[in-house]
Symmetry: C2
Subunit: 428 residues, 2 copies
């Protein structure tokens, strides 16, 4: 399909630059064929031409850390700090999940992603082949992060997943990862570090999410989680940490040396009482910051608008009102996340890049008047502004309707049946 968007405002987001272009965006099959002024360019044979009526086109949001299938625990496990939430609610309930469950629950998350302008998610969960199938069947883009830990997964299984998932479908990719330092024994960590070294791949994990995690690691190893993992050679080819709320002295130097990414998850961090990540410091130090929702059991929604507002708002609260420039936050949400996930072709609107595109309706009261579009999006934007979501040139959501092969009611019914079955099995 070739699609023409015209009468558009465009935020290309190649840099953290809030300058809005006006003009057109052309899509040829899965790629962007033109951004801006079409003068002198031969028109494509367009299958569809969309009058944007001055609405805003920007790169889709990249949800750079999530556990999509945890939709089944939305509003089930709440109001507890991380450790209790994980051990009392999450682990026992998760133990009942089948591959079919994970396929169905991930599809529920995809509905939420595309209706909220998200075009790709960095997903850490189990039964990874079913997440990959969900990407293929829905048209949504998943980057799957390894989740090995002492309760499941080895370096060998991580390698197998890495190889087969990266060959599965253009919408699917995989990165080396593990659950967290505090759930993974040193022999397994060493095996994973060796694998990453052999493949020359970056490694991603939950990192320095809570003060208790960091203190526990220091007690066991004499080092912070970042320093300890780095001492094992884990980050020799880069990688990144999800959350990164509690860096300790020396950690930022390691992050800079290894080129580590941070994915911040502010809604989850406040809801679980984990703290506020020092994003303004990361920005100042040149550490690339992506943004994610974390899973729907801790958040409890998958809304990148809420995360963007919190990313800047919590810095203003803790550092000062000028902290966390909103254009930079928007760039984190659209572009830096793509780079962290290895989606170098999905980071901005530019000829030749993948057509992962969102249109936001500016003809709504929360976007008016238009004093500053980037600020409007970050400070005032909402999922209700999402008019269209396109992944790899295919429109998946438009004006309240899902335009891929899915029956939302069937997805909701399946999710309800799954949680009912597990609640019954657990007697709760």
């Amino acid at each position: 399909m070739n699609i023409r968007f015209y009468n558009a405002r465009i935020l290309p987001m190649e840099q953290a630059d809030g300058t809005v272009q006006t003009g057109e965006l052309w899509v040829r099959d899965d790629r962007i064929a033109l951004v801006g002024d079409p003068k002198g360019r031969e028109p494509l044979a367009f299958d569809r031409e969309i009058d944007c009526k001055g609405n805003l086109i920007l790169p889709g949001f990249k949800n750079a850390h999530t556990h999509s299938a945890m939709t089944f625990l939305r509003s089930f496990a709440d109001d507890k700090p991380l450790h209790n939430w994980l051990h009392e609610d999450v682990f026992p309930m998760e133990a009942h999940l089948t591959g079919d469950d994970i396929y169905a629950l991930t599809k529920l998350a995809v509905l939420e992603y595309v209706s909220g302008g998200v075009t790709a998610a960095f997903d850490m969960y189990y039964h990874v082949e079913r997440i990959a199938e969900c990407a293929r069947d829905t048209g949504f883009r998943f980057v799957i992060c390894g989740a090995a830990n002492d309760f499941g997964g080895t370096a060998e299984s991580t390698r197998r997943d890495f190889e087969r998932l990266n060959a599965f479908d253009p919408l699917v990719s995989c990165r080396i990862g593990f659950h967290a330092e505090y759930t993974t024994s040193e022999p397994l960590l060493r095996d994973l570090a060796a694998l990453a070294g052999e493949l020359r791949e970056p490694v991603f994990t939950h990192l320095s999410e809570t003060a208790a995690e960091v203190d526990g690691c220091i007690e066991r190893t004499g080092m912070s989680p970042i320093a300890y993992l780095d001492s094992l050679g884990m980050f020799n080819y880069g990688g990144g940490g999800f959350h990164m709320v509690h860096p300790r002295e020396g950690d930022i130097e390691i992050m800079k040396k290894r080129g580590l990414y941070v994915c911040t998850n502010p809604a989850s961090n406040i809801k679980l009482s984990s703290g506020v990540a020092p994003i303004e410091t990361y920005y100042r130090e040149g550490i690339p910051v992506a943004i994610g929702t974390d899973g729907p059991a801790s958040n409890n929604c998958l809304d990148m608008f809420r995360e963007m507002f919190l990313t800047t708002g919590l810095q203003k609260l803790t550092v000062g009102a000028a902290a966390a420039n909103p254009v930079r936050v928007l760039h984190s949400a659209c572009s830096v996340g793509a780079k962290m996930m290895g989606l170098d072709q999905c980071d901005c609107l530019k000829e030749g890049k993948q057509a992962d595109v969102v249109m936001l309706d500016l003809h709504m009261p929360n976007m008016q008047p238009i004093n500053n579009i980037a600020k409007n999006v970050v400070y005032s934007g909402s999922k209700s502004n999402v008019a269209l979501t396109m992944v790899a040139g295919r429109i998946l959501y438009e004006r309240g309707r899902y335009t891929f092969d899915v029956d939302p009611e069937e997805v909701y019914a399946k999710a309800d049946a799954i949680i009912a079955r597990i609640r019954k099995a657990e007697g709760r």
Copy 2:
């Protein structure tokens, strides 16, 4: 008009109780005629019957502190702490506003309110007669709060506004108020306290919003703003404070003694770096807490879902993961706000109460599965879930359309013209 909602889930919110009823809600003219089971009740002559398909009916959100017409400064004045924001950006720009401007800009806010499930706003601004006209012309409910201060307004003008606005239209009411201790000299404060005493009325004001405000008052008077105002007899008949981020020792005792309300505005408080109000303490002490957005120049949107999530999330961050129970927060947003505003007939769904009602679409991915409806609304809800907003029995918004006499594009164009004119006059 008589309207029947059937196949509904219903959260009456008479108490902070998340128990969901199923059944019907009947509306006769401007009032609720039935909630729950219609068995044995004579049906009304219904003009319209709405199949809710299991969706949720609850009392509309009460935006208990806002400056609606500040829409013109959305995304214009940002990234500064309160004092600089107010003196460098807000006051100079506001000086150019006419009554016509305020009517048009308030109408823009009404579009945002009703599309976000808000059925009433406690509005503090100028040219109050134009806000009242906006209520009458749109069908939205405004409670207007006096805004007297050293730059405009006297006890006499406050009394005149109080008398004429409370007689203007059933959708309009007025409460005694002033801008803030730090903008109002003691003679004027004494006059206002005398007026409130004479009328036996509560008094509302910006109160203890920033640490600097509180410190300044202590320096000038030897007392915190609450203690100082109370020493003038300001709260002899109750009242309340907007923001209330920084109570000092003894303040909570005064608040309890006088029955003061708090309206918390968490998005504005973090964005202006003012701090986090001790809501969990207020809840524990039995101080009634309402929720508001503050004006769109500081927030920058008028979204009670974001405020609800922040109200609980910031308490979890600062107190612990169990703080600020979401059902209590929902009750604050729907019911306590009504009581603070003097809207005793709009606080819950009950026979005889005003039909200020919202329907939230649960057939959307962020509301599924339905483990706990109240938690879904507070932790995961969004303006995109608002399917219908009714004020005084009249549907003002339904499924993306405004159903009162308004052309949104005309409202947006007017707001654009106003800010363009003022920017030109100010050379910025």
